[in-house]
């Protein structure tokens, strides 16, 4: 065991030729791997394929909405397309993307461990994910499902003649993948931190993964049992949600959203962790109010469980209960705002490097803020009644999930790409893609706020002619966004063979992952690191470098 100082971290060590890519060869070495880094790559490929499939459904919907008439897709097909867009994007992309790809790859590296606590369970998580995704794809090619991703009863249990059972079964299995990942992360963070790496020295990405994992463990089982109840009612006719059988359809919505609202935080919390790491690295500063940012992740994880019924304001719930949930929803904005204010305070008077990850994070902060603030519009009981089931809601959650999670994921994948592959991506192309994504995103979704406010309902393939101009703008934006999303797929793959060698720490960043070679060796570190510095100690690192240069 040796003690690495911050100075050593920045300047020492030659890269080893052996790494997790070339340590073993052959398909089986990948499909039976227990290496968290290889499992992260398996997830990266899988979620990227699912993202393209989900994106296909989105584009088809946007093309249909170019004209007021339902001329490209029938109403039934349109119902299936928005359902499968939602199911694929939420269950198979947004929920796993940051924890399973970046979290899997980075968590052991950031805490100085050789692997996750349960490497075989980690591989099992991926196989469960693939099984679920496989069932989902079979459902898609054999006719699809038309209930909306929320599977609301009684339509899903009594009336829909599409593949409800298969889709909910896929969601049920995907849930177990998520639970096992969360369990693995929690045990790893508790038990496998390197010597000296106390809780308050952890990168905020690790704090965010910890909070996310708690939500995964506590909420996902409720989704599992809810979907099982739905499947039983649909197939056997046992009454849980059907009033004719003694059930209550609103009970389904309570149980579904008890998981699915915290699921929003499963998507956004890791994104916030990425934002903290990237902001610190590209401002060369400690994150302002580190402990507040860390504990705000836990606060969001907790408060996120208390707000679910704001999805039920027009479903016939008690007005008193609605008032309580409205108040609690306003409350959850506080820890989210703490993060935004602290990132902003970190940026204050900083010498910011405007490289691609930072561009995406600046987009993330702005778009997430818009998404969050419009969430408060929806938490307001009176206004919610006006805009429920309109495009205002569609715009709101896309600003959170796409403007938030996807932007941060793209920031993270660019920031850690040199560590993952050992190669730099082409900066010019990456900046162009970031610009296209930002412009395309806003052009797609901002008009939808206006459309929703003036009354365009969601989930219809035809609409009144006065809504066409904004819909054309939105579809044009979606085209730009699609190009912005496709570009990284091409240039990142290109860079694996043609990119400039990155070295172990191309950003001059602080953090244990940057102390090992790029790509890292199979065992991550040749010697167990001992941490003697605070999180994001950029001032200390720069001081050490200055002293070295002076000598």
């Amino acid at each position: 065991m040796t003690t690495a100082t911050l100075h050593d971290v920045r300047l020492s060590g030659a890269a080893s030729d052996r790494n997790y890519f070339n340590d073993e060869y052959g398909a089986l070495s990948w499909f039976l791997t227990k290496d968290h880094k290889r499992i992260a790559i398996l997830y990266l490929i899988s979620v990227s394929v699912l993202f393209v499939i989900g994106g296909f459904f989105a584009m088809m919907m946007r093309i249909e909405l170019l004209t007021p008439e339902g001329d490209l897709l029938t109403s039934d097909t349109y119902n299936k397309f928005f359902t499968m867009h939602g199911v694929v994007m939420i269950f198979f992309f947004l929920i796993p993307v940051i924890p399973a790809v970046l979290g899997n790859f980075l968590l052991p590296l950031q805490i100085g461990a050789k692997d996750l606590a349960f490497p075989k369970i980690n591989l099992l998580s991926w196989y469960l994910y693939m099984l679920a995704a496989g069932i989902g794809l079979i459902v898609i090619v054999t006719g699809g499902v038309d209930t909306g991703w929320t599977f609301y009863t009684p339509f899903s249990t009594q009336y829909s003649n599409t593949h409800v059972f298969g889709t909910t079964f896929a969601g049920f299995i995907a849930g177990f993948s998520s639970i096992l990942t969360g369990l693995n992360f929690i045990v790893t963070i508790h038990r496998m931190r390197a010597p000296g790496l106390t809780w308050y020295r952890l990168p905020l990405f690790v704090w965010a993964l910890y909070a996310t994992s708690i939500v995964m463990l506590l909420a996902t089982p409720v989704l599992a049992i809810t979907l099982v109840m739905l499947m039983i009612e649909r197939t056997v006719g046992v009454g849980f949600f059907d009033p004719a059988l003694g059930g209550d359809p609103v009970l389904y919505q309570h149980m579904f959203w008890f998981y699915s609202h915290p699921a929003v935080y499963i998507m956004i919390l890791p994104a916030m962790g990425v934002a903290s790491d990237v902001v610190a690295a590209f401002t060369r500063k400690k994150i302002f109010g580190y402990r507040f940012v860390a504990f705000s992740s836990l606060a969001i994880a907790f408060l996120g469980f208390l707000v679910w019924a704001h999805h039920l304001f027009v479903a016939g719930i008690s007005v008193y209960s609605a008032m309580i949930f409205a108040f609690l929803t306003f409350f959850v904005a506080v820890p989210s705002a703490i993060k935004v204010f602290n990132w902003t305070a970190t940026l204050y008077k900083a010498s910011v490097s405007w490289q691609t990850p930072m561009l995406y994070i600046m987009g993330f902060i702005g778009l997430f803020t818009i998404g969050g603030v419009t969430g408060l519009f929806l938490a307001s009981l009176g206004l919610d009644i006006h805009v429920t089931d309109t495009y205002f809601v569609v715009a709101h959650f896309h600003y959170v999930m796409v403007g938030g999670t996807v932007m941060a994921y793209l920031a993270g994948i660019h920031y850690w790409w040199p560590k993952i592959t050992g190669r730099m991506y082409p900066e010019w192309w990456a900046r162009l893609a970031a610009l296209l994504v930002f412009v395309g995103f806003n052009l797609t979704f901002f008009p939808q706020f206006i459309l929703g406010y003036v009354g365009m309902p969601r989930r219809y393939h035809a609409y009144a002619p006065e809504f066409q101009v904004l819909n054309v703008l939105s579809t044009a934006g979606a085209s730009v966004l699609a190009v912005g999303y496709m570009l990284p797929i091409f240039y990142l793959i290109w860079s694996i063979w043609n990119g400039r060698p990155a070295g172990k720490n191309p950003w001059g960043a602080v953090g244990l992952e940057w102390t090992t070679s790029s790509p890292p060796p199979k065992e991550n570190f040749h010697e167990t690191p001992v941490v003697t510095w605070e999180a994001y100690d950029y001032p200390g690192m720069m001081k050490a470098m200055g002293e070295t240069q002076h000598v």
Binding site: L218, V222, H254, M255, F258, A309, L312, S318, V319, S321
Partner: protein, 110 residues
């Protein structure tokens, strides 16, 4: 140095508590009795208490399983926090859902 290492390892060796066999048998019998009582209770019309009584018996059985079959009774405080936390979360689901059901009949304007 070797002594220190050995001591260090012993200090961190997991503490294994061996539960006597009779405890497992007693818990099993208690669970069997609980199942029979649940069945017998279902034959008697207790009015509004039908469901609560069944739930109370089921909860007692679940607690026995958690404490003895899952070894929580001899586990660390962190495990206790996890178990209690899980029930707390279940409580959140129940309390806030019933906050809706129990107040639906109330009217703002009479």
């Amino acid at each position: 140095m070797a002594d220190t290492t050995e001591h260090h390892q012993l200090e961190h060796a997991p503490h294994v508590h061996v539960t006597p066999l009779w405890i497992y048998i007693a818990v099993f019998l208690a669970l069997a009795v609980g199942t029979i009582v649940t069945y017998l209770a279902s034959l008697v019309d207790l009015g509004m208490w039908n469901t609560p009584v069944a739930l109370i018996i089921a909860t007692i059985k679940a607690v026995l399983v958690i404490l003895f079959f899952m070894h929580v009774i001899h586990s660390t405080r962190l495990t206790w926090v996890t178990v209690v936390g899980s029930f707390l979360w279940l409580g959140i689901l129940f309390v806030l859902t019933f906050a809706d059901y129990l107040t639906r009949g109330w009217s703002l304007f009479k």
